[in-house]
């Protein structure tokens, strides 16, 4: 990857177009470079679709989700009810649309809370050394090891009708540990890098070192951790709603499944009721995973190019795993023989 440095004295190149500093848009674009590959974009599009639905739920839903209609019970999809009706005639499509809001709000809010805590604990414990660092690390590990779902179940059962933000806060407070651990490891390795030593030797104050020197280098990891936490929060929320620990007065896809299951929809093959909410959860999960894949490949370019290189080799008739490469290019007619591979 290193280009041979043949010219080192005076680099004679024409002056770049922008006179002073990069334009704001260029800087913004390069800050989000991790999102610029195909996988991330696909994921962001799907996610954006759901966010729009959540925002415009009132406008998009044809019926009110609680509109009861006893004449149209258990109906399969029709022109009037695209996704059919429930056991008391409510429109499934409207319920799914309105359910998006709870999922998106709780998911993102929980992830924001968790990520802020993770950054604070992880970066500080990674930069400091000694007992303070070890102490924060032990705290992180404790939260990692103690099983989350049972704890949430017990805590959630203590509230009667928790508002969305309380649910989000509880999920966030339980889910920060993974991100903190990853950030701590990365901060520790960054701390010993020369440019941080140079900044310290220059006399940069600590807060500048952490915010301006280190944080930009951690952005990809923070983004990936955030996305992962959103996924976990959404899964937790829907699972807890399905179980019934979170009261069924709040709307989300999990509660729809709770009703469907309670009314025996699975046994009675009312697929229009139980398939869409589950597929939506899966779809958001896929979108978030795609974004994470994109970030992974940005951070570790080997993942991206490994498959491509191997495929290109294969096209030439070479095996990516063989250590011996023919010196002469392999043509379509000849196959490498033992003498060739000397």
């Amino acid at each position: 990857m290193t280009t041979p440095a043949t010219l080192d004295i005076r680099t004679v190149e024409p002056a770049p177009a922008t006179p002073s500093g990069q334009s704001f848009w260029t800087k913004l674009g390069s800050a989000f470079a991790m999102f610029r590959n195909g996988k991330s974009i696909a994921g962001l599009v799907i996610l954006g679709f759901f966010v729009l639905i959540a925002i415009f739920a009132d406008v998009l839903a044809p019926f009110s989700p609680t509109a009861v209609n006893h004449t149209a019970r258990f109906q399969p999809p029709s022109a009037e009810h695209w996704l059919g009706t429930t056991h008391i005639g409510e429109d499934v499509l409207s319920q799914v649309i309105h359910g998006t809001r709870g999922v998106i709000v709780v998911g993102f809010l929980a992830a924001i809370i968790a990520t802020i805590i993770a950054i604070a604990v992880g970066v500080i414990s990674g930069y400091l050394s000694g007992w303070k660092s070890e102490g924060l690390s032990a705290l992180t590990n404790v939260f990692l090891v103690i099983p989350g779902l049972p704890l949430i179940i017990i805590v959630a059962s203590m509230f009667d009708n928790p508002p969305l933000w309380v649910i989000a806060a509880v999920l966030g407070l339980i889910g920060w540990a993974w991100g903190a651990r990853v950030l701590r490891a990365q901060t520790m390795s960054l701390r010993n890098r020369d440019f941080i030593q140079a900044a310290r030797a220059n006399g940069e104050p600590l807060r500048r070192i952490i915010t301006i020197e280190m944080l930009p280098n951690l952005m990809a990891l923070i983004a990936a951790s955030f996305v992962g936490t959103v996924t976990a929060a959404i899964l937790s929320l829907t699972t807890l709603s399905y179980i019934g620990v979170i009261p069924v007065t709040t709307y989300n896809w999990g509660t729809i499944l709770n009703w469907a299951s309670a009314q025996g929809a699975f046994q009675q093959n009312q697929w229009w009721w139980y398939l869409p909410p589950g597929l939506c959860i899966a779809a958001i999960g896929v979108a978030l995973s795609l974004i994470n894949f994109g970030i992974d490949e940005y951070v570790n370019p080997r993942l991206r190019s490994a498959g491509e290189r191997a495929r290109a080799l294969r096209k030439q008739g070479l095996n990516a795993n063989s250590a011996v490469t023919a010196v002469r290019p392999v043509t379509a007619t000849s196959t490498p023989t033992k003498e060739d591979n000397q």
Partner: protein, 359 residues
């Protein structure tokens, strides 16, 4: 319940000082990394203490009336049991908090977790010990299979990078983002209701009593297949992805090229060199995901009405049987800790670097 978490690119760097080649070496003898295990043991003791303390505070954080109402509703409790319940649930407000804490510990160390009101006043420890083997069997079995298949599969996919096998990754990842419970419900809908291949739930047929007969074991297997299969399919993706990513990183290392140049057969290079090194972070993340696995099990047991401790916890929560809730949480936490310890021991023996810092 495994969310797709970001993959760690490099194993976290130990902050031990880089010992130069001219340092005077200290002779070390044992191959058992006592220091490493010792510090881990200390950590786990601390976590255990933290979990027990959290358990202590949980019922005390609940609204005051709820717990005393609970006791008031159930007057058939024997005096000793009532004592235990009061200590566990924080009702002896005449004692100081610290005294309550000590009483709590003394009850725990005697194995007295109170009585379960949901289960006819039987001791909580008895109720839990009946349910625990079912969970351990199902989860242990399914997780081991999932980890093994996922890791081996990931190694092969990583090795054959660029081939059609690569398409398995998005498929299995998609499957792992589907919520456990929905997958389970779908499985029931398709395989039990429609196709009738498997029973709808429970661990064994109605009317059967647990015994060591072939018929009983056959029923257990029959009933357990669908839940186990669901767990395996849902969690496969995570292991496969992690292993494949690590394989790609490891295969770029120079020592792989050297191994191939030495003329070693591909199979040896794949398993003894590449996979052996790539699997180490997998073991670490396995240990860390045990908490998530437990979560998934709880849901699975509810979906399939499987008589394990997950279902026990849910029933207890719905019935507000606080003593049982507390007991189950404790048992779950201790199990996760034990599993973590085992994973750490395995890791310590597999990773020569931990052994070396002892020497």
């Amino acid at each position: 319940m495994t969310a797709v978490q970001p993959q760690l690119i490099e194993p976290p760097a130990e902050d031990a000082l880089e010992v130069g080649t001219t340092a005077t070496a200290v002779k070390g003898r044992s191959r058992v990394p006592w220091r490493f295990l010792g510090s881990r043991a200390l950590f786990y003791l601390f976590t255990l203490w933290a979990a027990i303390t959290i358990n202590f505070f949980l019922p005390r954080m609940m609204k005051g009336d709820a717990v005393s109402q609970y006791l008031a509703r159930n007057r058939n409790v024997s005096p000793e049991a009532a004592d235990a319940l009061r200590a566990l649930l924080g009702l002896d407000t005449d004692k100081s908090l610290f005294q309550q804490y000590l009483d709590y510990w003394s009850h725990l160390l005697r194995g007295d977790l109170g009585v379960s009101l949901l289960h006819g006043l039987r001791p909580v420890s008895e109720v839990i010990s009946q349910a625990l083997p079912w969970t351990l069997g199902l989860v242990g079995f399914a997780t081991i299979i999932s980890f093994a298949v996922g890791t081996i599969g990931g190694a092969v996919i990583g090795w054959r990078r660029g081939s059609r096998l690569d398409s398995l990754i998005p498929i299995t990842t998609f499957l792992s983002t589907i919520p456990y419970f929905w997958l389970g419900l779908l499985a029931i809908a398709v395989f039990s209701v429609n196709l009738g291949w498997f029973p709808i739930g429970k661990a064994y047929g109605v009317g059967m009593r647990p015994e060591w007969s072939a018929e009983f074991i056959g029923q257990v297997i029959h009933h357990g297949t669908l839940p186990a299969l669901t767990i395996v399919i849902a969690s496969l993706g995570g292991w496969m992805l992690g292993m494949r990513n690590m394989m790609l990183t490891v295969l770029d290392e120079d020592y792989i090229t050297v191994a191939q140049a030495k003329g070693l057969p591909n199979r040896t290079v794949l398993w003894r060199y590449a996979a052996r090194n790539a699997v180490l972070p997998q073991i670490q993340s396995f240990a860390l995901s045990l908490g998530f696995i437990v979560g998934g099990t709880i849901v699975m047991e509810m979906v399939f009405s499987y008589p394990g401790i997950g279902k026990l916890l849910l029933d207890a929560t719905n019935a507000k049987d606080y003593a049982l809730m507390q007991g189950v949480f404790l048992v779950i936490t201790v199990s996760v800790l034990v599993a973590n310890i085992l994973a750490d021991v395995a890791y310590a023996f597999l990773d020569p670097r931990t052994r070396q810092t002892e020497a």
